[in-house]
């Protein structure tokens, strides 16, 4: 299809859909006037029955925990697909050592960058841990904290260079974290069934409201998500970075099997 015909088709589709969109927008409740009844009820009831302060975490890990389990496996599947696509061509054997392009000049890092990264890296990791652990009381949780923790490992790359980063961050550990996190989440769903409760029913003691150790099973699930997200995102960064390094190899023969 020529680009011109495509634009024409897009404009036509837009014109057809425009009245419907307008009608839907006009039918929605005016912005800021009211919220859905379901959310209202959750806000009213959950602090008492689950002893947690953060409603978003309560929904993610308890009330709609099954949905999050699905999301968790979507995450796992997407990262597995990425890693298979990237690593499949290179081969498993190459993943352990840092590759280097001979043609690329190694630029020495200034002392300032190294110093700042050595200070900021642990601080970022600490903040990520804080965000993970306080999922049930303040804004945060495994999803956000995991990404922050993964970003913290990038500061190692910035400060210590690529080889140093690869020495610190082991690919196999990341695989284990990613899969283990998903496994932990699944086990959190299955373990209550051993006691006769429903899937993912919150059987652990709920703890005190506004305390870090509140929410019972939510804390374990949160930990599982944090492990999976940290491992998964670090794995993504690592495999992407490796892709820029492998360029010098004569990769044509291996390409056919990818």
């Amino acid at each position: 299809m020529s680009p011109r015909a495509r634009i024409a088709l897009l404009v036509l589709a837009g014109l057809v859909l425009l009245p419907g969109t307008g009608a839907v927008i006009a039918g929605l409740p005016p912005f800021g006037s009211t919220i859905a009844q379901y959310g209202e009820r959750i806000n009213a009831i959950t602090p008492q029955v689950r002893h947690v302060a953060n409603m978003v975490s309560a929904i993610n890990f308890d009330l709609r925990g099954l949905d999050t389990l699905g999301e968790e496996f979507m995450l796992l599947a997407a990262i597995t697909g990425t890693v298979v696509l990237l690593r499949g061509r290179r081969g498993e054997g190459n993943t352990e050592r840092a590759m280097r392009r001979p043609g690329r000049a190694v630029i020495p890092r200034s002392d300032t960058v190294v110093l700042v990264c050595r200070i900021a890296g642990p601080l970022t990791a600490l903040f990520g841990l804080y965000v993970v652990l306080h999922a049930t009381v303040t804004p945060g949780g495994g999803f956000q904290g995991g990404v922050i923790l993964a970003s913290a490992t990038l500061l190692i790359y910035l400060g210590e260079g690529y080889a140093g980063w690869r020495d610190t961050v082991r690919s196999h550990w990341l695989d284990a974290m990613e899969g283990g996190g998903a496994l932990l989440f699944t086990l959190c769903g299955l373990a209550p069934m051993l006691t006769g409760a429903a899937f993912m029913q919150n059987v652990l003691p709920l703890g005190t409201f506004r305390d870090v150790f509140s929410g019972g099973l939510m804390l374990v699930e949160n930990l599982g998500v944090a492990l999976a997200v940290t491992g998964g995102f670090t794995q993504l960064f690592l495999e992407f970075m490796e892709e820029t390094r492998a360029a010098d190899e004569p990769d044509e023969p291996g390409e056919e099997s990818a």
């Binding site: 953060n54 978003v56 975490s57 392009r101 965000v131 804004p139 945060g140 949780g141 999803f143 956000q144 990404v147 922050i148 993964a150 970003s151 990038l154 995102f233 993504l236 960064f237 992407f240 970075m241 892709e243 820029t244 360029a247």
Partner: protein, 83 residues
């Protein structure tokens, strides 16, 4: 607050448009990062600190980095035509 929210919504529309209209991928990465930052501010103003934190970590840091590295990976290939 009644004035900040509409302005932020308009800013979101502008930054989203910028992501589309900046055609050069190397420049688009900056537009993506700015868009992530604007979205994070908007979400915070919409009383969603959880989402803002997530968008800040993902949209303003992780995703632009992935784009950057993908662009690097494409550019370090032997250029057949244009990268």
């Amino acid at each position: 607050m009644t004035l900040i929210l509409p302005l932020l919504f308009l800013l979101t529309a502008v930054s989203g448009t910028a992501v589309v209209l900046v055609r050069d991928p190397a420049r688009q990465i900056f537009a993506i990062a700015v868009n992530g930052l604007v979205l994070a501010i908007l979400f915070d103003a919409l009383q969603a600190p959880d989402v803002a934190l997530s968008e800040l970590a993902v949209g303003a840091a992780a995703v632009p980095l992935l784009f950057l590295v993908a662009l690097m990976a494409v550019r370090t290939r032997p250029p057949e035509e244009k990268s």
